[in-house]
Every structure is written in structure tokens, then in C-alpha cells.
Subunit: 235 residues, 2 copies
């Protein structure tokens, strides 16, 4: 009897990693804020060792910075980094999309269709005032974009895309409601058009639509972040 799939026993270090990652992404800490071990120990309920492992890993992924003998800080946010991240994301993801359109099989099409469907359903029931449902929407959004490029055949591209998503999602979280509430924008129509072009194997069109999608997102995020900086400076 197949051993009941050995329990996904998450070590304490992984628990701490997941928790901190989630909190940083969702904006629970101020950028550049020092992350004191004693404080985190209480917050996460784990000792020093697993905590430092989690922070080391987050540092390697770019979510926190570390300086020898001076501990860890939440990684800074900046307009330059936001622009850079979104541009690089577009560059890499469009390539992965081209390859997926060329190589994708029935399963790939199935993943696109079903993730788009799930995104639509979550979008219907989504409540802009509930952080829980917004996080779920964000996850479905990511799933759709992952599905789009899931036939690229390149593990390396996938990893890069994953890390770039991580770098950009921090800018989105604190203002996702603003974003989806933007009257000039219907995200489901944009996503539907990208999906259609991809399934029709129209690579140039799909790439253009995806580029436009990210350009618009970048513009809105840059605007939102500029406003935040202004508020911080003036108010």
C-alpha cells in the first residue's frame, strides 16, 4: 500500500519562509525596515536557526537584503526597479509565450482554458474589500499567466519568470483594488483576447496583446507608486 504519500511535513524553516514571504508580498512591512530576529521569532513562533534560513532564502530571491553582522531588511521598492522588472518580465514572458505557441499540445490548451475559467469565476465572486478574496484573485491571475507559458520547454525561463513575478507582485498588492477598479480597463476582456490568440496559434498577435497587457499594468503601477511616494513626501 503506497505509503499514503509521505506527509508534506513542512519543516519549521519552510513555515517561516512561507509566512514571511506572504507578509512581505502583501505589504505588511515597510520597505527597508530592519527585520529583527527577536521580533520575528515571536511573530513566527520559531527559533533563530530556521528564521535565519528563511531570511537567507528570501534574500537570495530578492525580497529582503542582508548585510553581514547587521542583519536583514525588507528589500526596497523603487520606480526604477518597478520599470525594470516589468520590462524584463515582458521580454522574457513574450519569448516563453512564442515557444509555447509553437510547442504547446492539447494539455497546454487545456491549462489555458481552465485557468482562464477559474480566473473568471473568482473575478465574479471577488469582493474588493476582502483581502482574502483579492489574494485568491491574484493567485488565479498568476495561474493563468503561468499556464500561458507552460509549454515553453525551458525550465530556466520558467524559473526566471517565477522570480520576476515575485519581484513585481509587491508593487501590485497594496493597490490591487485601484487597479481592477480602473474604469478604462476590463481585465477579463484582455485575458480572453490573449487566450484566444494563443489558442489560435497566432504568435505575433498574442505577443502584442500580452505586451500591451503588461504595458498598461506597468503604467498603472508606476502611477500608483508615484502617488504613494508623493503622499509619503507631502502628507
Amino acid at each position: 500500500m503506497a505509503k499514503a504519500l509521505s506527509k508534506s511535513t513542512k519543516s519549521r524553516g519552510e513555515q517561516a519562509y512561507s509566512l514571511l514571504r506572504h507578509e512581505i508580498i502583501s505589504g505588511a512591512f515597510v520597505p527597508e525596515q530592519p527585520l529583527r530576529l527577536a521580533q520575528l521569532q515571536e511573530r513566527c513562533g520559531v527559533g533563530f536557526s530556521p528564521l535565519r534560513e528563511a531570511l537567507t532564502r528570501l534574500a537570495a530571491e530578492g525580497l529582503v537584503t542582508s548585510e553581514a553582522m547587521r542583519g536583514f531588511r525588507v528589500a526596497p521598492l523603487s520606480l526604477d526597479d518597478l520599470r525594470d522588472t516589468m520590462e524584463t518580465r515582458t521580454f522574457v514572458e513574450t519569448e516563453a509565450l512564442r515557444r509555447s505557441i509553437k510547442r504547446g499540445d492539447d494539455d497546454w490548451e487545456g491549462r489555458i482554458v481552465s485557468s482562464l475559467h477559474a480566473l473568471g469565476r473568482q473575478n465574479e465572486r471577488s469582493n474588493p474589500n476582502d483581502p482574502e478574496s483579492l489574494a485568491a484573485l491574484e493567485d488565479r491571475h498568476r495561474d493563468f499567466h503561468v499556464a500561458l507559458i507552460s509549454a515553453s520547454g525551458s525550465r530556466r525561463l520558467e524559473q526566471i519568470i517565477d522570480n520576476l513575478y515575485l519581484g513585481s507582485v509587491r508593487y501590485r498588492m497594496p493597490s490591487l483594488s485601484n487597479l481592477s477598479l480602473n474604469p478604462a480597463r476590463d481585465l477579463m476582456i484582455e485575458h480572453g483576447a490573449i487566450s484566444d490568440a494563443a489558442l489560435a496559434r497566432n504568435a505575433p498577435l498574442a505577443v502584442d496583446l500580452l505586451t500591451a497587457h503588461y504595458s498598461l499594468t506597468a503604467e498603472l503601477l508606476i502611477q500608483a507608486h508615484s502617488d504613494r511616494l508623493d503622499r509619503a513626501a507631502n502628507g
Copy 2:
């Protein structure tokens, strides 16, 4: 006054990280070999905590794998990964090169000229039987390629390139001598031509030359790795 170097003090964890990284890159361990803490503790002369931090970081960078409650292993090597890594490297670095040619200033040109010069000098005095001088040559080689793309203006691209280099250098190390000894190849001429095209701001030519440079490297590495696999299977 224990140790007079207070400023550039490397923590023990960083020492362990540097050492292990170097040993993995230079092929001191067999791929997929388990990395036992007790053994590493003796080898590195540090306790469990900094060791685990180093391994966690190496895992995030892809040089080792980790499984909960089962410790760490040296990351595997494979033909697929080698191909993928070299292709992705070419894709990303050619873009960074295009941008650098467009944006590069006098300092950028200076970095190319001087790193090419340093590479040539190291190449002259390099002894294929001395691992020390081979490692130095590898470093000058990396410096040149870093200089080439150092005016891309994208921190993200630079990071990605750095990580991809890390992923590919493992395949090169055990057979660097084979590579540079290949009679059909004069690396200094290839590098000189790339440098010339870049400095002449001829982006299409520079990109073609860089692509050819990496394609040839990839071919030789794939051949070398196939031979190694055959030897492991038969002999």
C-alpha cells in the same frame, strides 16, 4: 583586538557559502551526492547553523537541491539542463548586449577594452595543467562577458545573467582544458571580434558573433558531457 579587520568581516556563513560554491562549481562533488552536515562541518570548520544557511542559499541559486527532513544534495547535471541553460543564456545576453551597445558610454568601452586585455594576458601565461591558473582564466573570461553587457541599464537582466553563468560554469570546469585546447578554436580571436563589433556599435554583428560564440561553446560542452556520460555507463 581579536582580528583587526572589522569592516570587511565575512561571517562564517558567508565563508561556508563561498567555499561550498567554489567546490561545487569546480566539480569537487559528484552530482546528486548527499551533502552530509557532519562531513561538511569538518570540511568547512563551521557549525550547523551557518552551514545550513549556506546550503539554503545555494539551493535558492540552483547549485544544490533540498528536500524537507532529508537534507541537501549537489544539484544534478543533465544534457537537457545544459542545452536549456546555454540557450537561455544566449537569449538574455544578446538582449543585454543590444541595450549596452545602444546605451554604453566611454566607461563601458573602457571596461570592455581593459577586461579583454586582462583576458589576453591571463591567456598568455595560462598553464593548462595548473588548476589555479585555469580558474583565473575562467574569472577573466567571465569578467569580459560581464563587461560586454554592463551598460544594459537593467539590474534584473544582470542578475539573471549572473545566475545563468553560475548554472553553466559547472559544465565547463571539468573540461576547460579540452575546450581551450580545441585546435579548431581560437577564443581570443572570437572575443576580439565581439569586442570590435560592440565598440563599433554594430549591434547585429555583435549579436551574431556572441550567438556563434555561445553556440560553439554549447556544442563542445554537450559533446564533452555526452562523452562523460558514456564513460560512466560503459567504462
